[in-house]
Symmetry: C2
Subunit: 316 residues, 2 copies
């Protein structure tokens, strides 16, 4: 059996993850998820990227909004606002149930990995989906307006502040989970796919976990990243804005360079094919593909491209 | 100005409380509320009797159900059940907002008194409504099936177990709030009214708070209790069942005797007038009245009767 690991953050990553589940069984792929965006709100422990993946894989996601659950209502949140509660982060009534259950189980002593497995299973997702660590790591954004918690920067302030630097608080005392480490040592492991999530906000926090990046590299399997840029622009979210603010050239070349010390292959959107030669110079393999995932078929095709690239690199 | 304190538990007490607010201003009456029924559920801090009073005084209560909020929906609870959560205690979507806010504020360091004042104010209730203590006291029921948390006995197991004894855990290290103690020393205080709540499950936990009963007595104002029995039966709830299980004669005489060491007056339902003479023998004054509170007028009339009785006893 051939096994793969996919590293994913928010919506873009979840799209490719869905594609992967359509071509690989639950024994053949596992997902490693960013939890740097996790935070406490309304007294609840919220894990946005884990939930995006859970709702996407269970078919419950809100396709219109791009976050939360489909067919959602907002009765509790509306009542909560009338009680003077913070209203900048929208939690729907059904979504709230997930945060209540997670918070309750964590309080009772379960690890985030255990809680996550329990939640996914109850929503009918039997793929292994692991938080990057059971210890909390918190992404903070140093901006011209001062240091901000990630969700304050991202949701409350709609990424309006100019980013100076990005920090992953407590990453040095957070460790990869045993689930991940065992999986990376599995002789059936054939490749690692970095989904087209935001490199700085979604992938970097995962890599910041103490020893995690080293464990990925030590697995000695091909590591392939899918460019989050299409035609030199971000599909969604603040990737482009942040790259400019961090004084990076807005090009897939910059993304490949950012990942250069641990990936072997890079999947470039066909619209950016002109950059292939330059990226190859850094020593990594490059393939071009349609990376925009509008339809389910697009997701499946891109998933297949990524899997094939891992297999080919492993064959060398 | 003449001031009164009303001591109240659940639905029956809240009805009389509503009547009191129709004849007395926010400067003239304050409410002391049972928190022995409080518990943690779904990771939330729930205060059922405080909420019953809040919803009753704000006009938000669910009159059909007798608990919770009117026009409630259950989307979160339904989703929570699908996640494997406990489902024996029903929390509606809007009601949940209250528990979320309370839990969050307590976690941030506010006292239960502060949280309660904030919640009531946001729902438009400007009467003083105080928890019996800011320290948790937990009512537990010793039954033939073992010791049960109050809500397990009351809601989950629908009072089915035979009660052997009732305990108020941590009451000896719980103290009355400063709000209450100041109010009891106010020279304008003219009377204390014990609402027709369950004497054993709603009033006794309040009296169990260390020094609280003594502070009531030390105020030297008349203390008048309204019988929770009508025609020798409980209007609602397990009062009659519990009295039988505790081997008490099911009669207002037993209730008066139970309160005998701290009350001066007893309001008997007119259907139980035959017991007036016997109760008088214990040294307390007795008046009869219609105590069934079907309409708002009934609540107002009974409130006026209780206030008048305090005034008359004080006049003596």
């Amino acid at each position: 059996m051939k096994k793969y690991l996919a590293i994913t953050g928010g919506v873009g990553g979840a799209k490719l993850a869905l594609g992967l589940t359509k071509i690989l069984s639950k024994s053949e792929v596992a997902f490693l998820v960013n939890t740097g965006d996790d935070f406490e709100h309304m007294g609840l422990s919220i894990s946005p990227d884990l939930d995006t993946l859970m709702y996407t894989l269970s078919g419950l996601s809100n396709v219109e909004l791009g976050w939360g659950r489909g067919g959602e209502t907002w009765r509790c949140l509306d009542a909560y606002k009338k009680l003077g509660g913070d209203s900048w982060f929208s939690l729907g009534d059904e979504d709230l149930a997930v945060h209540l259950r997670r918070t309750e189980m964590l309080k009772l002593g379960s690890s985030l990995s255990e809680v996550t497995a329990d939640l996914f299973r109850h929503l009918g997702v039997d793929y292994s989906c692991w938080p990057m660590s059971d210890k909390p790591v918190r992404t903070q954004i140093e901006t011209e307006a001062g240091r901000l918690e990630f969700q304050h920067y991202f949701v409350r302030d709609r990424c309006e502040h100019v980013v100076k630097s990005i920090h992953f608080v407590s990453s040095s005392v957070a460790y990869p989970t045993n689930n991940l480490l065992r999986y990376l040592e599995d002789p059936d492991l054939c490749g690692i796919i970095v989904c087209p999530s935001n490199p700085f906000l979604s992938v970097d926090p995962i890599l910041s976990v103490h020893g995690l990046k080293e464990a990925l590299i030590a697995s000695k399997v091909p590591i392939v990243a899918v460019s989050p840029l299409i035609n030199g622009q971000a599909v969604k979210g603040p990737t482009a804005k942040i790259m400019k603010e961090l004084r990076l050239v807005l090009s897939p070349v910059s993304v490949a360079a950012h990942y250069q010390d641990f990936i072997n292959g890079f999947i470039l959107d066909e619209s950016d094919a002109e950059h292939a030669v330059e990226i190859t110079k850094s020593g990594m393999s490059v393939v071009t593909a349609q990376t925009l995932m509008a339809s389910l078929d697009d997701r499946i095709n891109l998933a297949q491209t990524a899997v094939n690239m891992c297999d080919e690199l492993r064959g060398h």
